[in-house]
């Protein structure tokens, strides 16, 4: 395997933007069809009413809120991971960051759509915006749903800018590599970028500041999403562990999403020289740590509930451990803990294929986790008359499947118009600051290591 440099990097990474195969159109048509099906399902729900869905008293949160929490979790893949890797100056991050940041943006857009779908009357969604409604009062600032509005919008704005800023120099590369209308479009997108030392320094400073700012915002977003649950008097929801538990779960599912996206891009765009086994192995190790952390949080949550032995909490506890939700619960444990432990813990299995299989398992497991937090608890609340069940209907399943297709569609279109690996960052790896090269590394490079 060769290490591409200079012109080859430009050529390889601009090529997917200029050449389009029939496979691309087939996939766009396929994912587009699912998205259209989802749109039809949603419009029919709007037209015929919420009765089309399986949501009913007392389980008012079903697939839609599960999807909301799941996609917000997936969004932690990008900006947070990218920001951390940037700050610690991990050299191997360079081919990974843009793939990751794009996931964040699209996952957030999809996730933020679900409250609109869930409210049933999307034309009243503006009531969530902090301005006086027709009742002449402002939204309640003490409600976690309003906190969601602020947190998600801040994270979305930050993530969009965090994705866009390092794209500017690459737009300039595409501008200079193309002709005609395409060149005109990329000239506008490149914002007059030339590549003077001043521009590079300002860009790098901006990225550093944003990385510092975005990490606490990312943590706050999922903590606040967890507050949607832990602030409510519902069995097994009111627990102090929910904040970090949700954040860890979000990063966990985010890494899984990133590994899948990278593997697909590697295969479809022939990026084998850039997305190397090393990147998958490193992300696999990170996912293994998150699997252990997830197991630790679940053990804590379960053990404390078990020792507390409250009748309502135990009712939910046994519903998931032994009764109707047990098959889903144990599938979740296998997918989120057992599978990653085997495939990522044993070095022989920590290959690209192993990492991808483990990632698919984690994505399924984390979706189930969100579902199992919401539905069993809402179906067995404190008052005896507020017990019930929930069965998802076709409209919810269709919309859920459509969001996965929408993610694939957006990602494919993005990879078609933007170099999916940051060209300048990859090249910058060839010119690291001397201050960033530790003396020991220099010795290694010289090849005479004296112990």
């Amino acid at each position: 395997m060769t290490h591409p440099t200079g012109q080859q990097i430009t050529r390889d990474l601009v090529r997917p933007l200029l050449l389009t195969t029939w496979r691309f159109y087939v996939m766009i048509a396929l994912f587009g069809a699912f998205v259209v099906a989802g749109l039809v399902a949603w419009l029919s729900q709007v037209y015929f009413g919420f009765g089309l869905s399986g949501i009913n008293w007392p389980v008012f949160w079903g697939f839609y809120i599960t999807n909301f929490v799941f996609w917000i979790g997936i969004s932690h893949a990008g900006t947070l991971i990218s920001a951390i890797l940037r700050l610690v100056n991990a050299g191997w991050r360079r081919p990974v960051t843009r793939c990751a940041e794009a996931i964040t943006t699209f996952a957030l857009l999809i996730g933020a759509m679900f409250p609109l779908i869930h409210i049933g009357r999307p034309w009243l969604a503006f009531w969530l915006i902090p301005y006086p409604s027709e009742r002449l009062i402002w939204p309640n600032f003490r409600s976690p749903l309003v906190w969601d509005f602020f947190a998600i919008n801040t994270y979305l704005t930050g993530s969009l800018l965090f994705l866009l800023l390092p794209m500017i120099p690459d737009f300039a590369v595409v501008r200079d590599s193309t002709t005609g209308i395409r060149q005109k479009i990329y000239r506008v997108l490149a914002l007059g970028w030339r590549g003077t030392p001043k521009q590079w320094h300002r860009l790098e400073s901006a990225m550093q500041i944003m990385a510092i700012a975005i990490i606490p915002v990312a943590v706050s977003v999922h903590t606040i999403v967890s507050f949607d649950f832990s602030m409510a008097p519902v069995p097994m929801w009111q627990t102090t562990i929910f904040g970090p538990y949700f954040v860890a779960g979000a990063i966990f599912s985010g890494i899984a999403g990133l590994i899948i996206a990278m593997a697909v891009l590697r295969r479809l765009l022939h990026l084998e020289d850039y997305l190397r086994p090393l990147h998958f192995e490193n992300l696999g190790k990170l996912m293994l740590v998150m699997a252990l952390l997830w197991g630790y949080f679940v053990f804590n949550e379960r053990l404390v509930t078990y020792y507390g032995n409250g009748p309502h909490e135990m009712a939910v506890f046994w519903r998931t451990q032994r009764l109707s939700f047990a098959p889903l619960y144990w599938t979740m444990v296998v997918c989120n803990f057992v599978l990653p432990l085997i495939l990522l813990g044993i070095r022989r299995f920590r290959t690209i294929t192993g990492c991808v299989i483990a990632s698919f398992g984690v994505v399924i497991g984390m979706w189930l986790e969100r579902y199992l937090i919401i539905v069993p608890s809402l179906g067995a609340k404190y008052l005896p008359y507020s017990h019930g069940t929930y069965t998802p209907e076709l409209v919810e399943v269709t919309i859920t499947v459509a969001t996965f297709a929408a993610m694939c569609l957006l990602y494919m279109l993005f990879a078609k118009v933007v170099p999916i690996i940051s060209i300048w960052e990859l090249k910058a790896g060839e010119h690291p600051s001397p201050a960033l090269i530790p003396p020991a590394t220099e010795k290694h490079q010289l090849g005479d290591l004296h112990l």
């Binding site: 309003v146 906190w147 800023l165 030392p197 320094h201 400073s205 010119h431 960033l436």
Partner: protein, 168 residues
């Protein structure tokens, strides 16, 4: 615009050209350097490093914090609502709003500083060659030189091995 510039394949040659221009009496402010990636391993890559961006990000954060506090304070005091015995202006929940807007202010200030200080077209700044991005060359040049100085500049820029000197 008139300009004379050289294209170099590596950072060391570009650095040599910059040094020769300096030796020929060209001040740093008149030397244009353009590269396809940050050149941190060369001295010229550290030009124009000083920036107020960090302070402006802090200022943006302070403005965001004030907006967050103001929004929460004004709305809650103007339309008092009794929620579970919490005070009308409750610090704990409002800290979340204040925190998010602080961070948003800081992020927006950073981006605004970047756009204003590095992306808006300033004085001069028209010298460019697509070979920088497409072929990975490093451009070192002087914009609007006096006619008398051009031969000397061409000699300085052409001195490093593999240099390609051009006029624009």
């Amino acid at each position: 615009m008139k300009a004379v510039y050289g294209l170099y394949t590596d950072g060391a040659s570009a650095q040599q050209a910059v040094n020769r221009l300096r030796a020929a009496g060209v001040v740093d402010a008149d030397i244009t350097i353009i590269s396809g990636q940050p050149m941190e391993d060369q001295e010229f890559g550290h030009r124009d490093k000083a920036t107020w961006m960090w302070w402006l990000a802090c200022l943006g954060g302070l403005i965001g914090m004030s907006v967050g506090f103001g929004l929460a304070w004004i709305t809650e005091m103007s339309w008092p609502m009794n929620v579970g015995g919490l005070p009308t202006f409750a610090w704990w929940p409002n800290l979340i709003i204040i925190f998010e807007l602080t961070m948003l202010g800081s992020i927006l200030a950073t981006v605004a500083t970047l756009v204003v200080s590095a992306l808006l077209p300033g004085k001069g700044g028209a010298l460019y060659d697509p070979a920088v991005t497409v072929e990975g060359k490093i451009l070192v040049g002087v914009e609007n030189p006096s006619d008398d100085a051009v031969p000397e500049l061409e000699r300085s820029l052409g001195a490093p091995a593999g240099a390609l000197v051009k006029m624009q």
